[in-house]
């Protein structure tokens, strides 16, 4: 009897495969048991795969591929709940709405949004004001600061928009400079241009 012989009881690569299959079934069992607090999945987009995470109170984040997805999920575990599992069914609706938006067939999002990852009252007010900007329209940073209750806090409004965890759905791309410049964008200026082109604000 050698230890190496006992080792093969562990099932080798077959056990790895079976473990993967069993683990994939856990999200469904967790949902049935009422233990799934946050579900996440990856959504297709012209920019590559987006991380979308949905909690019990709504959409928590949409993240561009240049972000560190693991860091975002760790932040969710810390600040919302560590009961975070990859699951497609909870994220079906947001993924479908994003598909329709990118295809040009959707002008507003119906999913509920949860600002649990947003810190600070002013930042929340800026993002709520931003969420009200309609498809195809833009406001300036000063407009949004004013709407959020502090017309002088233009730079703070810019920072708030830069920290938006739910871009596209909370349309921070619809906020531009007073002089006509586009300003910045967390996802990179090219993405802001693409989104504003989809919405007809910029010519093709």
């Amino acid at each position: 009897m050698k230890a190496s012989e006992l080792k093969r009881l562990g099932g080798g690569r077959e056990a790895e495969r079976k473990a993967r299959v069993a683990a994939a079934e856990l999200a469904g069992a967790a949902r049935d048991a009422g233990l799934l607090d946050v579900a996440y999945a990856f959504a297709d987009s012209p920019f590559g795969p987006l991380l979308v995470a949905v909690g019990r109170h709504g959409l928590l984040c949409v993240q561009y591929p240049n972000h560190d997805f693991d860091a975002t999920l760790s932040e969710i575990a810390r600040e919302v709940s560590p009961r975070v599992l990859e699951s497609r069914s909870e994220t079906d609706e947001i993924r479908r709405e994003l598909d329709e938006y990118f295809a040009g067939g959707r002008r507003s999002f119906d999913v509920r949004v949860d600002l649990a990852l947003v810190h600070g009252e002013f930042v929340k007010r800026v993002l709520r004001a931003t969420a009200r900007i309609p498809f195809g329209r833009v406001l300036t940073y000063r407009d949004v600061a004013t709407e959020a209750g502090n017309a002088l806090a233009v730079r703070a409004a810019g920072n708030a928009l830069g920290s938006n965890p739910i871009p596209i759905v909370v349309p921070c791309h619809r906020v531009v400079r007073t002089g006509g410049g586009l300003g910045g964008y967390t996802g990179g200026l090219d993405r802001k241009k693409t989104l504003l082109t989809i919405e007809g604000v910029l010519g093709r």
């Binding site: 009897m1 009881l9 099932g11 056990a15 473990a19 069993a22 683990a23 967790a30 709940s81 599992l85």
Partner: protein, 170 residues
């Protein structure tokens, strides 16, 4: 800042459950395959990780999650063995050390002498062997996972190997 003071415990953050599951699923599955047999492994796997998920928000330290989840899996395996013994022996209330044979079916797992020999071990000995030789754990880790001591783990492995040598014609 400087180095942490002696005696201060450094807590590791609790990772998202999916990362925890991905990191430990194979070890748990290997452990259960041998401990409860391939036919019950899937069910015990789900029970183990659902228990873990239930308790997860109450965890304060993520530094030994592998030991934690293997301890849960060990309890599930012991429960499964007891349930099986109750079905087999309606009379007694079998102690842990009662032999719990695996319900081995024809195609799966491999029908060989080693499997049969390990399946014939008492449940705690069988699990100690799995912890030691399949998962490469130290006796201290095995003791912790099985809710006993390092010495008990060493004794369980010793007894098991002795029996396995007797059974196996070499």
């Amino acid at each position: 800042m400087g180095p942490p003071k002696e005696g201060s415990r450094l807590r590791k953050p609790i990772p998202p459950f999916q990362a925890f599951l991905d990191a430990h699923r194979t070890a748990v599955y290997r452990f259960l395959m041998v401990s409860v047999g391939p036919n019950e492994a899937d069910e015990c796997f789900q029970e183990t990780f659902l228990s873990a998920l239930r308790a997860y928000p109450r965890l304060r330290d993520g530094s030994n999650l592998r030991g934690w989840v293997l301890a849960i899996a060990t309890r599930k395996a012991i429960d499964a063995a007891r349930a099986r013994n109750r079905r087999a022996l309606p009379v007694a209330d079998p102690a842990d050390e009662a032999p719990a044979a695996l319900a081995v079916e024809a195609a799966d797992p491999p029908d060989d002498d080693l499997w049969k020999a390990v399946a014939g071990l008492p449940v705690r000995q069988r699990m100690a062997v799995v912890h030691r030789f399949v998962l490469d754990e130290s006796y201290a880790e095995i003791g912790a996972a099985m809710g006993s001591t390092e010495e008990a783990a060493r004794a369980n492995v010793y007894q098991a190997l002795k029996k396995l040598r007797e059974v196996e014609p070499r």
